[in-house]
């Protein structure tokens, strides 16, 4: 009899638990309904985000290729400019050489005129003819100025050559930008691969960024003609040379 009573008590406890469960269910159902509503709204939004990531990732190889094209185009243009500058320099050097030769000839003629004047001393007609001959040399009087100007042209063409160092420096900056795009592209591709969306995954996989292998660049490269930059390098070089024994200081820089 006691056993029956214990069993009945256990059944009532279970029924009570069941009743509590239904009560909890009544409370939880509206929350689940809200969650379903939320999911209905969020799913299209997630699809849009997926599609947006996919679009962005698809455009990255194009951006990277355009950057590579810019580097190639500037290198080609720089080579052309260097070729032209070399031609100008060669012509200037040739003209300068001729002008210097003409200057030497003029000086030689001046010495000959002086000698001739001594020889024909007292002969008025001869002296007059010599004066006329010397006057005919007048166009060569500007030779010194011409040589100086040719020197200026040469310096300027050399300066153009030096300024073209900008091509190498910008090429390194562009390589750094390309590397960055490649890294972001790889991460996005991984992210999209994690989302089960085979269509997008295939799109991304088919669009690899074509970055030349083994490219090395300085991401901090800058075209800075400020002389203080080399001054700073020299200061560090001198400091290090003076303190050669102080390896500790060098080590500190890397600690």
């Amino acid at each position: 009899m006691r056993e029956l009573s214990t069993n009945m008590s256990s059944i009532f406890d279970k029924l009570n638990d069941l009743k509590n469960l239904f009560k909890f269910g009544e409370k939880i159902v509206p929350i689940i309904q809200s969650l379903i509503e939320f999911m209905k709204e969020i799913v299209p939004l997630l699809e849009t985000i997926n599609s947006s990531i996919s679009d962005t990732a698809n455009k990255m190889p194009q951006a990277a290729n355009q950057i590579s094209n810019v580097t190639n185009a500037t290198e080609l243009a720089t080579t052309e400019i260097l070729d032209i500058v070399d031609k100008i320099t060669n012509i200037v050097v040739e003209v300068e050489s001729r002008a210097k030769k003409a200057l030497e000839d003029r000086e030689r003629r001046a010495r000959l005129y002086a000698k001739l004047r001594e020889t024909v001393q007292g002969n008025g007609d001869a002296l007059e003819t010599i004066d006329e001959l010397e006057a005919a040399d007048a166009p060569t009087k500007d030779l010194e100025k011409t040589i100086a100007q040719l020197g200026e042209v040469k310096d300027n063409t050399h300066q153009i050559t030096l300024s073209l160092q900008v091509q190498d420096i910008t090429a390194q900056q562009l390589a750094a930008a390309n590397h960055l795009i490649q890294s972001v592209h790889e991460r996005l591709a991984t992210l999209i691969a994690d989302i089960d969306h085979s269509e997008i995954k295939d799109d991304i996989r088919s669009l690899d960024i074509d970055v030349p292998e083994g490219v090395d660049f300085d991401p901090k490269a800058s075209y800075n003609k400020d002389a203080s930059r080399q001054g700073e390098v020299d200061r560090i070089l001198n400091q290090q040379n003076e303190n050669k024994a102080s390896q500790e200081e060098i080590d500190k820089l890397f600690s």
């Binding site: 720089t78 190498d168 420096i169 090395d216 003609k225 080399q230 060098i250």
Partner: protein, 125 residues
């Protein structure tokens, strides 16, 4: 002293600029290489090379690694090396010195700086 330069840079533009500058300074004897690997091959093949001007950032073998290999070879260990690079921060300069470059020039450089550095190096040879 007759100098034969090895000019190492992956940029065709930079090689031409360095070589033009050398010619303007009266140095006509040079060979060129596009990276450290090619430079090592040229150095091994040409015993007349007695001055190296190298960039740092290059594919295949960087200027820094190239310098270490040159210094590690008894045949080339004493050849002067001038590093010409865009890298200008203190840590880079110290790293280059530890690799035993002879001197260091930051790009963009002027012919005057190049001349000074070559002369400084030659004074210490």
């Amino acid at each position: 002293m007759d100098l034969k330069f090895l000019v190492v840079d992956d940029s065709v533009t930079m090689r031409r600029i360095v070589i033009n500058s050398l010619k303007n300074l009266g140095y006509e004897n040079y060979v060129e290489a596009a990276d450290g690997q090619e430079a090592l091959a040229k150095l091994n093949a040409d015993s007349e090379i007695n001055f190296i001007i190298t960039d740092w950032n290059m594919p295949n073998l960087s200027g820094l690694e190239f310098t270490k290999q040159v210094r590690g070879n008894p045949d080339s260990a004493n050849i002067p090396i001038l590093m010409v690079t865009t890298r200008g921060i203190k840590e880079d300069i110290v790293e280059a010195l530890q690799a035993k470059v002879s001197n260091y020039v930051v790009k963009p450089f002027t012919p005057q700086i190049l001349k000074e550095k070559i002369e400084q190096i030659l004074e210490n040879v």
